[in-house]
């Protein structure tokens, strides 16, 4: 329950200490720069004993509760990690995922979330007027820290998105390796775009296309529901489609998890090569034993590696260039650039502006953007220079974004040149969500 606090209209103080934490909600002092224009004026003098009601201003969710969320995150991360690494019980992990879905999903309504926190962090890095609450920073950092030690236990049962999709993986199908590879590029693109748009202050696209937030809130636009519906439906056949092929946070977790200290193993002891687990993973994250030698001889591999290494800067540059060419398309998402285009279209309409601006007539059917622009008193060139600053940012951002994608692809290729040798069935440390399905299949118990 949220409390509703009232503002004393005529300076009457509300009884102090009615609640443990009393906000002094004086709205009078807010933004008095605007009030300068409003001339002060007393209210009418009533003769009947009418008491002027006070303006009700509801109080937002208490700040302390944000730290409760962090606490719950920490505890559930610990429990889930323990369940995965020590208890090795799929059923308990499942139970925890129900809890996470209930708490982070339906109770906290999907907001604050680690995935979205990427954007807050990147915006805070580039815009020092942006406030990054500590709780949001912790939501970003904690899962990564856990992953660095124990693998992606966050994905297993703490992330409400993962939990939601896990429930709907009714008929998971194994995807071919090339599909997995090609679709695997998507999260890098999503991450790159999300950081680019966040850092330029354009938009938070992860939140804009948050697939489940509408379900968590039981309230969203029709389009958002449709979006969630389609994603969940595809998740019936392609398990956890968002986590595997979209989630930008997954990229970070993937790379962190590769170097994790104690990752989940399929078997607690020695693998008996029974191959029961081979198809148990709905996420195609089990690596088969490789005992045969690579068909490529060592010198060939070394040469390929060398070529790749030499070509990495080139690849990065090519992608960077391609990204920079996208500057207009990318910047077109930004509202400031959109406004500039509209303003330009408008001045184009008054057209090739032969003659002078007229004074007496008013344009009637302006869009609201144009109306607001006119009301703001900004000049045309101000709008343009603002937009061109944004476009410039996107030019640099386009290079970085493209370079990042190029680097990611080069690294992925490099990873597939490296020699491999393993005798056991293991989980792919990067892609494994630690859901423990394979463990259930393993006949070896501790």
């Amino acid at each position: 329950m949220r409390r509703i606090k009232s503002i004393p209209a005529k300076g009457l103080k509300t009884p102090a200490g009615t609640t443990a934490r009393t906000f002094i909600l004086t709205f009078f002092s807010v933004l008095f720069s605007t009030a300068m224009a409003v001339r002060r004026f007393p209210k009418p003098e009533f003769e009947t004993n009418y008491i002027q009601p006070s303006t009700q201003i509801p109080v937002p969710r208490a700040e302390l509760l944000a730290y409760l969320d962090v606490f719950v995150l920490l505890v559930s991360l610990s429990i889930v990690t323990w369940l995965i690494l020590k208890k090795r019980s799929r059923l308990w992990v499942f139970a925890m995922s129900v809890f996470s879905l209930a708490y982070f999903g339906f109770y906290r309504e999907g907001c604050v979330c680690s995935i979205g926190a990427i954007q807050n962090v990147s915006l805070a890095l580039f815009d020092n007027t942006f406030v990054l609450p500590l709780s949001v920073l912790l939501f970003f950092i904690l899962p990564l820290v856990f992953t660095a030690f124990f693998g992606r236990t966050f994905c297993a049962a703490v992330c409400p998105f993962g939990a939601m999709q896990d429930f709907f993986a009714f008929k998971p199908q194994a995807l071919s390796s090339r599909l997995n590879t090609v679709l695997g590029i998507l999260p890098y693109l999503y991450l790159g775009l999300a950081v680019l748009f966040a850092a330029t202050g354009t938009d938070f696209i992860i939140c804009r296309y948050d697939p489940f937030v509408g379900i968590f809130r039981f309230n969203a636009s029709f389009g958002m529901f449709l979006f969630s519906g389609i994603l969940l439906l595809s998740g019936v056949f392609i398990a956890r489609p968002y986590c595997r092929f979209l989630c930008p946070y997954g990229v970070l977790l993937n790379w962190t998890s590769r170097f994790s200290r104690r990752h989940l193993t399929i078997t607690p002891k020695e693998c008996i090569q029974c191959r029961l687990c081979e198809h148990s993973c709905p996420y195609d994250a089990i690596e088969v034993p490789v005992t045969s030698k690579s068909p490529e001889s060592r010198p060939v591999r070394v040469r390929k590696m060398m070529i790749l290494t030499v070509f990495v800067p080139f690849i990065v540059l090519v992608f960077g260039y391609a990204g920079s060419r996208m500057q207009d398309t990318l910047a077109g998402v930004d509202s400031r650039v959109k406004l500039a285009k509209e303003v330009m279209a408008l001045s184009g309409k008054q057209d090739a502006g032969y003659g002078m601006q007229d004074a007496g007539y008013k344009m009637q059917d302006d869009s609201y953007e144009i109306k607001a622009y006119k009301a703001s008193g900004k000049t045309e060139s101000q709008v343009y220079s603002e937009a061109s600053a944004v476009v410039k940012k996107f030019y640099i951002g386009g290079w970085l974004f493209g370079g990042f994608i190029g680097l990611a692809i080069a690294l992925m290729i490099g990873g597939r040149i490296m020699p491999v040798y393993r005798t056991d069935y293991v989980t792919s440390k990067g892609r494994c969500f630690s859901c423990l399905r394979c463990v259930d299949y393993c006949p070896v118990k501790s």
Binding site: Y50, T55, N219
Partner: protein, 222 residues
């Protein structure tokens, strides 16, 4: 071989953790910096308030969305673009600014001759603005939040013809405080911003304080 791999792994892990640590330390330090600059409403006491570009929000760690009525142009998108239905933005009445007029520009349709509560005279599409007789010639207007959809029609009427006491505000008991407000994204006048959670309102007002201030000045002059 495994040892070397192990070592590399540890090295990389260390690198990642160090990077994360550095990131958080720099961000925390930076925001602590902001904290120590008693920002927000204490801005004037900070001494360098003139050159400061930090928003008032920085004093508080948590922020919420709010719209600045002085920028609002009543485009109606608060009603249509909120992720919530009905919108979390509602008309809020700053009674202290209200003139209690009989002929209320926010309540009555333009051109209405008889000033009464008849349905055909009401501007509000959902009948959410209520009118109550107080005493001749004053009428009190209240907003029924259950019915209000935040369309801003009355706000436009009130600010054009009256004192502007009806204003749109984000109601924080309804607002989900999305990471990026979807109304803010489509707001044509950039009226939405993140404000400190402990000062969640941007209502404008003639204000008692400004009255007091003026009074004090008057005394000084006299």
């Amino acid at each position: 071989m495994p040892n070397r791999r192990e070592f590399l792994n540890t090295l990389m892990r260390g690198g990642i953790l160090a990077a994360l640590g550095l990131l958080s330390v720099s961000l925390v330090l930076r925001s602590r910096d902001k904290n120590s600059c008693s920002n927000g409403f204490a801005c004037s006491s900070c001494g360098k308030s003139q050159g400061c570009s930090l928003p008032a929000a920085l004093e508080a760690r948590q922020t919420v969305w709010q719209l600045d009525p002085s920028k609002c142009i009543q485009c109606g998108r608060c009603a249509t673009n909120c992720v919530m239905t009905p919108s979390a933005v509602k008309c809020t009445h700053a009674y202290a600014m209200c003139g209690y007029c009989d002929l209320c520009g926010g309540y009555l349709k333009p051109g209405t001759k008889t000033l009464d509560t008849a349905a055909e005279h009401q501007l509000c599409p959902t009948n959410a603005l209520k009118r109550k007789f107080i005493e001749d010639p004053f009428f009190e207007y209240t907003v029924d939040e259950q019915l209000c959809i935040g369309c801003g029609k009355c706000v436009k009427g009130c600010s054009a013809f009256g004192n502007g006491s009806l204003q749109l505000q984000v109601r924080h008991d309804r607002c989900k405080n999305c990471n990026e407000c979807s109304i803010a994204r489509s707001c044509p006048s950039q009226a939405f911003s993140r404000v400190p959670a402990n000062k969640p309102s941007l209502l404008k007002s003639f204000g008692k304080e400004s009255l007091e201030e003026a009074g004090r000045k008057g005394e000084l002059n006299a």
